[in-house]
Amino acid sequence: MAVLEILKYPDPRLKEIALEVEVFDAALQSFIADLEQTMRAGPGGVGIAAPQVGRLQRIVIVDVSSKPKIKQHGRLVLINPEILEWEGMAKGREGCMSVPDFTGNVIRAKTIKLRAQDEQGEFHDYDMEGFEARAVQHEIDHLDGLLFLDRLVSRRNDLFARKVYK
């Protein structure tokens, strides 16, 4: 296993659209192990997406189990993830290992229904909410070449959004 180098903006690979994973083999397992180790090596990182280490494939790892008292599924390897349903809107503060020294407010769906494959290629459906749902949406954005910088809201706009939608 190895800790991989995390690409930092403005690396153009962070703006690419990642490809579906089609082969679930030993090479994939080995990459996932490296990706997970890389996520855990970062300070406070609760998610990582393969494009962040320069691999343009639809692979995400999320593990928010370090946060107490929230609904969550523990360590998750999400391959070819697809959000089937969104509900609600919530603002929350995000940072990104690919954008050091900056955090900002982003509006995300409060709850999502997610379908994804695991390391073996098996399909699973998940109902997620809150912090975990936020992490998954942030990581799936990486698969589509989007950073949280693309979704920042100013505090004033944010207040307005809350008035309108809540």
Binding site: G42, V46, K67, G92, R93, R156, L159
Partner: protein
């Protein structure tokens, strides 16, 4: 060679009009100054700017760059050399919302009890909504809870007993 790339804090305030930001920042750019963090906002028909400016020359040199454009836009200028630097962010861990019928002392009351309970304000925005006759005061604060969020929660209880609506939430930063 000594460090001659200094940071300055530039404040500009004047009547709002289109193009202020573009005029000021292009004057700075053409004068060879770099911008750092900045906050700019329209407040009550005025426009206020606070900018971290990096400049190799001295205070006098920076005044020469900015005074002309400030005068042409009728902006008041304040310029200070600062010790600050970039990449010195402190992350907020709590957000507080306060609103109530506008009355004298509401900000002092709220910030006073919160400061006593350990709040370090990193960012405060307030506004007056409602109507001329029935104004409503609205404030959002982001800050660092030096003595924990629970201490701030009990402090807010004091405020609420006086008819001010206040709520607090922990800011849990998602890094991924």
């Amino acid at each position: 060679m000594a460090d001659n790339n200094h940071w300055y804090m530039l404040s500009l305030i004047g009547k709002d009009r289109p193009g202020i930001v573009a005029h000021v920042t292009s004057a700075l750019f053409e004068g060879g100054a770099n911008l750092g963090e900045a906050s700019m906002m329209r407040l009550g028909g005025n426009f206020s700017m606070m900018l971290m400016v990096q400049f190799t020359g001295n205070l006098h040199g920076l005044h020469e760059i900015i005074d002309g454009v400030a005068e042409s836009l009728s902006l008041h200028v304040h310029l200070d050399r600062i010790d600050g630097q970039l990449h010195d962010h402190r992350q907020p861990d709590v957000r507080i919302r306060v609103y109530g019928a506008d009355r004298a002392g509401i900000v002092a009351k709220v910030t006073g009890v919160l400061a006593e309970a350990g709040l370090h304000i990193l960012d405060l925005e307030s506004d007056v909504a409602g109507t001329q006759t029935e104004p409503v005061y609205i404030m959002t604060i982001e800050g660092h809870a030096g003595e924990g969020v629970a201490a701030l929660e009990s402090a807010l209880e004091i405020v609420k007993q006086e008819g001010i609506d206040a709520s607090l939430e922990a800011i849990d930063i998602m890094v991924g």
